[in-house]
Amino acid sequence: MANVVTAAETLEEKLTQEIGYDDHFHEHHHGDKYQSNFITTYIFSTDHKIIARQFLITGMFWALIGAGMSIIFRLQLGFPEADLVWLQPLLGKWIQVNEAGIGKLDPEFYYALVTMHGTILVFFVLTAGLSGTFSNLLIPLQVGARDMASPLLNAFSYWFFFLSGLVMFISLFLSTGPFSGGWVAYPPLSALPQASDGSGAGMTLWIVSMSLFVVSVLLGGVNYITTVLNLRTKGMSMWRLPLTIWAFFITAIIALLSFPVLFSGLLLLTFDRSLGTSFYLSEIVVGGQILDRVGGSPILFQHLFWFLGHPEVYIIILPAMGIVSEVLSVHARKPIFGYRAMVFSILAIAFLSFIVWAHHMFMSGVNPFISNFFVIFTLIIAVPSAVKVFNWISTIYGSNFRFNAASLFGIGFVSMFISGGLTGIFLGNSAIDIQLHDTYFVVAHFHIVMGIAAFFGMFAGIYHWFPKMFGRFMNETLGKIHFWGTMVGAYLIFWPMHYTGMAGVPRRYYSIENFDSFRHFVGLNKFITVAAIVVFFLQIVFVINFFYSMWKGRKQTVKNPWGATTLEWTTPIEPGHGNWPGNIPAVQRWAYDYNKDDREFVPQYVPLAEHEHDHGH
């Protein structure tokens, strides 16, 4: 294999010079006036590779905070009798000490933690941290562009995300606590400070933070779409794009169409909160006070929220799907099975994602007749999803599968996507949803299918492209410990939740002991909490591995260590601003020529031989 790589490198240089795309980059490249010192290089950088790393590390920071919050509320849930006084230095007044000297998590703060956990993981980690990182890193590198279409907007995108995070972080320290009405922020609870402490200043900051986040997503999305459409190198037709790019491209379109709707929903909510309007409020008596608000409907907010909220889950999972398609294909040494079917299924899922939102609202009081349409469209999504799963499995079939941390997380992703996707067939059917809505079955479903699965896609991407980001490899042994531990642990956390859900235990319960019908699951709750703590510490292994490898990991010595076909591996080991020092390679074929004829792999810049079938046509 090593020989192949060296041979390709010389061939690559020759081809790039001869038939590569010459944009006269070197002629006006007298040093880099935009990145002359530490601050402009590493902090306010406009280089997409630095911005990608900023998104990644910020995302990791938030992932640790969000996961840490889940550990705290799981402790309360799993060990309701335990003394949590030791958390007082961290949580202060939110630990209530009773007469017996036993410290308990304040219920209001329990719900605040649940809310923050959801918001942080969904938006800051799995949207910004996942899509932000890999769209930024891979779009210019894989389509053959010097940078994003607008590097400055790209930098703004990160800094708006940073600001959004900062505002949310500040809200954690309010005396009334952060917002505590669930990540979906349903009014009237989120509109009335009288109904919940967290709906006061906490909710105001939540809205400000989410609005800044919408700006970040839109700036990023416009850039991703423009770059994919306009900055592809010579020969890179749409059908020659790697599936990662297809996924990021479609994700950006979904985000661009759905996030503004969240913003409009939040704007109306702000009017209700501050200006006395009644978009979402009607006939309310709260805390003995009769409000003079009539005519609004809380269900309107739910429509606006889920018009973003449902596409949002595809904004999370599509990039993970793209990454896994690429990683599995590279390490299986086989073309991805059914490339076009993969693209069409992404398109189908993206289209359907806009007409299924009300399946979150079957039991919310909408007209039951309307639900008929949403059931049909929701269950149709199972078809493109099934096609994708079969194609991933077929990619492994007949391969020469290289097991490493990246490809293992790819397999783990497929397993999680199957397990979590299948439970979606129950929930999407409104009749079954009567029983399962807002129970732990839902918690199990979405944590597996978009939480764990998206994390696995992200991990696969990090292990795979770490050399491209830092010029070093992550440690494989720690990576495998991380994978197997997380794979087993994640199932131990979330699988039992199916059973509690099927027993009817509602989600978002501070304690299940009030109900005779539910309290026999106290033991299972303990088990889940212990599993969650173990899995949390396994993620620390990942973080240590990440930072250790960044400075001390095995150095990358060849440009294309995985023997991949895509363009990012034709850049220097530590690519500078502009990515390629000379010409940009011109693309001659699709991205999946592995083990074609007698060649182990054929990079995209190698011209087609005579009579060779072009799959990217």
Partner: protein, 383 residues
């Protein structure tokens, strides 16, 4: 001191991990890249197989273990008429998805093991196979069609409102932070009108007492009775924020929305006593109800139909429990007789009675006496 020990432990753990990383990097260099890849692939191929086997066994054993605690299995059969339709739909879906789950997992991990990296093995160049792809697009499409048709049939039947001329009882459930209030229509069978602006401490539901339908409505404070075999229409409302009227044993769930009444229609088919007797043979329900009192009543003896809230409504969300008792028609009628009109016992003759001075022709003697006693002494109720 404990903090110090914890910090030291964490630092030691980090050092251990970093050392593992360094040692494995070194051995990898000594062994060479190819050998590492071969060893890795062999090891992880086997781990994939082991994981597959343990995972599938674990799934079957654990679901068997919890079978008598999950709704729709063992003794927890639906206590309502429509519930069994939903349960069977659940199980049909479970069979379809179960087959797919097992087969795809076997394929995924078995292929990963079978086609693990081996020196000299050449991966097959298979870009696509139109016929195969057609087949596996068509099969899920057909299965989904079956599930959609069955599901929508069930859905539209369950969600249908009362038809004209049907015999039913209407009750009203109102969610507020953090309890449920249940209102019964009284002998006239009709719930009286409400206006939220009339809400006071003495008139929590804002009933409009100029509406004669309100005069006989009653609001029990403890347990709520329902007769077995009779259709119940629950009118669901909320006073402050969203709540959700959730009766797990009846497969009943519907949001309570301020300003927009919703409803759910169901027919209880098992009395509380019958349900208890169904639980009796099962080991899980023969443990003491109160673990501190091993000789006290068993769990099945204390079983009740519980009402819960299933829509986050604030810090007391988890505590909105109420109990419904399903009884025979005779017991229900007897219970009805013991219930007294809210208006006549709490409002009539008091200072805020909107019908003060009017003869409504409905008062029992007892009420009239009570009213005469207290007319002068009543202070107006505070909001």
């Amino acid at each position: 001191m404990t903090t110090l020990i914890i910090i030291i432990c964490v630092i030691l753990l980090m050092v251990v991990l970093v050392q593992i990383a360094r040692v494995t990097e070194l051995t990898a260099v000594i062994k060479g890249e190819r050998e590492v890849l071969r060893d890795n692939s062999l090891w992880n191929g086997w781990l994939s197989l082991i994981f597959l086997v343990l995972f599938l066994i674990g799934v079957f054993i654990s679901s068997w273990n919890y079978r008598n605690l999950m709704l729709g299995y063992g003794p927890l059969q639906s206590a309502s008429e429509h519930g069994s339709v939903l349960d069977s739909l659940f199980n049909v879906t479970l069979i379809f998805t179960g087959i797919v789950f097992v087969l795809t997992h076997i394929a995924l991990f078995w292929f990963a093991y079978k086609y693990r990296y081996q020196e000299g093995r050449k991966a097959r160049f298979m870009a696509h196979d139109t016929r195969l792809e057609m087949i596996w697009t068509a099969i899920p499409a057909v299965v989904m069609t079956v599930l959609v048709v069955r599901g929508l049939n069930a859905w539209n039947t369950v969600m249908a409102d009362i038809k004209e001329g049907e015999d039913y009882i209407e009750i009203e459930a109102t969610g507020q932070q953090f309890n449920w209030m249940i209102r019964y229509p009284g002998p006239d069978g009709k719930l009286g009108a409400r206006d939220y602006t009339l809400t006071t401490a003495g008139n929590q539901l804002g009933q409009d007492f100029t509406d004669p339908k309100n005069w006989d409505d009653f609001i029990p404070s403890q347990e709520f009775y329902l007769p077995v075999g009779k259709k119940v229409r629950v009118r669901i409302t909320a006073k402050d924020v969203l709540h959700n009227f959730y009766l797990p044993h009846f497969r009943v769930k519907m949001d309570a929305v301020p300003g927009m009444p919703t409803y759910f229609v169901f027919t209880p088919v098992k009395t509380t006593t019958e349900f208890r007797n169904d639980l009796r043979p099962y080991e899980e329900y023969n443990t003491p109800y109160d673990p501190a009192d091993p000789n006290g009543p068993k769990r099945w003896e204390k079983f009740e139909y519980e009402l819960a809230c299933a829509e986050l409504c604030g810090k007391g969300h988890y505590s909105m429990k109420r109990i419904f008792k399903v009884v025979s028609q005779e017991e229900y009628d007897a219970w009805l007789k013991t219930q007294e009109s809210f208006y006549l016992t709490q409002v009539r003759g008091k200072a805020d009675d909107p019908n003060a001075g009017k003869d409504l022709g409905i008062e029992s003697e007892k009420v009239q006496e009570a009213a005469a006693d207290t007319t002068a002494a009543q202070a107006p109720a505070v909001l």
